[in-house]
Amino acid sequence: MRGIISAGGYVPYRRLDRSEIAAFFGSGGGRGTRSVAAYDEDTTTMGVEAARFALQGAPAGTEPRSLWFATANPAYLEKTNATTIHAALRLDQSSPAIDTGGAVRSGVGSLRAALDSREPVLVVSADLRGGLPTSTDEAAGGDGASAFLVGDDDTAPVIAELVGAASATEEFVDRWRTPGDANVKQWEERFGETKYVPLGEQAWNAALKAAELTPEQVDRLIMAGTHARAIRSLTRRLGVAQEAVVDDLAATVGNTGTAHAGLLLAAALETAEPGQVIAVVSLVDGADVLVFRATDAVASYASARPVAAQVENSGVLPYSRFLSWRRVVTVDPPRRPEPDRISAAVAGRTRDWKYAFVGSRDESTGALHLPPARVSREGGAIDEMERAPMSDVPGTIATFTIDRIAYSPSPPIVFAVVDFDGGGRLPIELTDVEADELTIGNRVEMTFRKLFTADGIHNYFWKARPIRTDR
């Protein structure tokens, strides 16, 4: 039996209230909120978070043999982004890490390919969606990521078995963006609708046939894609009861593009019951349909970080800050030097620390060293250290400060001395935090972020953020 072993959805902490857009520009926006990646997040960091949740939700010791990363908004071209995720997760060096991105369809496409593959595969999708101010893409888009550990039940219990899949492909131009362009362009809506609806019906019928199911037997229907009007039309034609259609998170998160079908599927799996049939329909440059049946194992499956809880726990982001984070407007920076580019050689040497947040622990005294050290702070032992992975260890704020004058892509810097559970300390930057909400004793967790970019090189490292959602 092949299917999904575990899933992770990641929704960034910040929300933009869409009504702020019209309040500022006089047009655009809409109702509800959309999720916004923080200034220190990109598709790679969001992918890391979703992948961490997916692996945390899998039985201990379950390791993917391959990592695939899909995004329409890659942090790098030419250089593989999946290798960063691979490093953050400390996957085995013999596992390939491959980008499948470029187009939005690569998200669902990678999931399907993984389901058709043999080895355990970790499939990660992430997207950062936006558009020109007042555009539909700006308001309706969302940022987020999803990840699935896909495999056979001889690796670990499968919680959702793939029982049918089908696609329909046809070349037509609906939405496009050439390399170097920031924003997507779109053909008039009706043309796309006339293409998408029949393709969707074709794939839907083929998938149900393969699964030997009728539309009435579908308990949960996930509708995703890049063409909202076509999705609405098609939903009405599938023969599935309206109650079975799952919340598409449009009112709270927005459409997370490459990640979205996965994000909705991860959320659906969090509440799935054994035997339920979950169908995913995605309309992006054609149609892809995946039909799953939840297994008995889903009853004991617990998501490491439910999507619902992340949707619930959010912080408001003013539209002014959104425009600045998206570099639509540039605000006056502090009169401090911008950072130099990092050294590839040094970062290569320290990759376990930099990307995976692994320190060293004195084998005899237990003293934790962050960053890892060869000589112990206590006792003076040399090279008698064990590796201490700390990315999943929560901590407590010992003291903190707000730096209003240091260089930051989004001043001020909130900085704290964090004491980790079980011993060990690191003074480190905080994120997803309001400057005035902190007190000594607050609990924090580690999150993978982009500190800055210099000479086109992204400087990834870890920050701490307040614990707001149950683990």
Binding site: P334, R335, R336, P337, P339, D340, I342, S343, A345, V346, A347, R349, T350, W353, K354, A367, L368, H369, L370, P371, R377, A398, T399, F400, T401, I402, D403, R404, I405, A406, Y407, S408, I413, F415, V417, D419, G423, G424, R425, L426, P427, I428, E429, I440, L451, F452, N459, F461
Partner: protein, 397 residues
């Protein structure tokens, strides 16, 4: 194995110190020429009479040639040294130990920094060492700001009292600096102005932070027995101590940001070298590293001028005011002088040179029956710093 020190083996016989400030029209070379000329004249020597030179600069030049070229030194040994904000004091250690060793008869320690040319606010790190980008990028102000809530919480000082304490330190140093023609800022500042100034980091306001200035200072040192060949009133070195921290405060959850262990250790060593047993009653005056007002507060306890948890009361009681029991930063400190990194340690020693020999201007000359002056630098941040302490006296024994 012991730290013996060089008590009474070496004497300062001449010093120079430029005005500190925004020297837009002067280069580091110009400042070096000005400070060294004053020091040579003060000691009554020419540059060729000095056998060896130690140049302290963190970011204004590399190698001994950064001094040999502007001064046109002919075939002289020049060591360029750097040790964070204790760089100027490090130059003095090098020169003094070289003379004490017998290797040279006469040596000069000179420090310089040209900070204002960077075009940025505050100090800008000199290091361009390639890194993995995981290091902290906070300003020093933010790092020292973390001491304020930590101290207040540990000793039960409420936020308003704490503000008053920090403002008193700032106002005191500006009061002293207003009486010093070499200071960058020569204006008294009221506590009201200090408390209303813009926030920089944490609870620290503009007037809690030292300024940024260019400057240079220099000292000529000789063996103690030769001192009177140069001057009737030499200043004898009683102790020079230095601790380079192992950065354990960054990793050790027991460190609580209410003290600077590196300073405490450097003080213990310096007092032992000099035979000082009760600093509160033996030290005549101190020039300490008031980079930020909470630093000066904690330093008072680390140096043993106040019991733990009591320095804030002593500050408010005026113990460290110009005419208090132990005047601290009678020249105005980093607050009034700014902090040209390579020069600051020697600028502090210049004030000891003036005060202990009763040559300070009347309006800030301290009156005391004690003879030992203390200079102190820290370089780095709470939890990770270097610390220097020097003790000097016009008296032998």
């Amino acid at each position: 194995m012991a730290s013996h020190g060089i008590k009474d083996q070496v004497a300062i016989v001449g010093m120079g110190c430029t005005r500190f400030g925004e020297h837009w029209d002067k280069s580091a070379d110009d400042l070096l020429v000005d400070a060294s000329e004053e020091a040579f004249a003060s000691a009554g020597v020419a540059k060729d009479d000095v056998d060896a030179y130690w140049l302290g600069t963190a970011m204004s030049g590399m190698s001994g040639m950064a001094l040999a070229r502007p001064l046109q030194l002919q075939n002289k040994p020049v060591s360029r040294v750097e040790n964070f904000c204790a760089t100027g004091s490090e130059a003095l250690r090098g020169a003094a130990y070289a003379v004490a060793s017998g290797a040279y008869d006469t040596a000069m320690a000179i420090g310089v920094e040209k900070v204002k040319d960077s075009g940025y606010q505050g100090l800008v790190g000199a290091g361009k060492t390639p890194t993995d980008g995981t290091g902290r990028t906070l300003t020093a102000a933010a790092m020292f700001a973390m001491c304020v809530p930590a101290y207040a919480k540990r000793y039960g000082v409420d936020a308003e009292e704490m503000r008053e304490v920090l403002a008193h330190i700032s106002a005191k140093n500006h009061y002293n600096g207003a009486r010093n023609p070499r200071a960058q800022f020569r204006r008294e500042v009221s506590t009201e102005t200090i408390c209303a100034s813009p926030l920089m980091a944490g609870d620290l306001r503009v007037y809690d932070c030292s300024g940024v200035a260019d400057g240079s200072a220099a000292a000529v040192v000789v063996r103690a027995e030769d001192a009177h060949k140069y001057t009737d009133s030499p200043l004898y070195i009683k102790a020079l101590s230095f601790v380079a921290g192992n950065c354990s405060g960054n990793a050790d959850p027991d460190y609580d940001y209410t003290s600077f262990p590196e300073i405490e250790a450097a003080a213990a060593d310096a007092y032992a070298q000099a035979g000082v047993t009760d600093p509160r009653r033996e030290i005549a005056m101190a020039e300490v590293h008031d980079c930020f007002t909470p630093a000066e507060l904690l330093i008072m306890e680390d140096l043993g001028f106040a019991e733990r948890g009591t320095a804030w009361k002593e500050v408010l009681a005026g113990t460290f005011d110009l005419h208090g029991e132990i005047p601290v930063n009678p020249d105005g400190g980093l607050k009034s002088f700014g902090h040209p990194v390579g020069a600051s340690g020697l600028r502090m020693m210049f004030e000891a040179w003036l005060q202990l020999r009763h040559q300070a201007p009347e309006e800030r000359q301290i009156t005391t029956d004690r003879s030992i002056g203390l200079t102190h630098n820290l370089g780095g941040y709470p939890g990770e710093m270097v610390s220097f302490i020097g003790l000097v006296s016009p008296e032998l024994g």
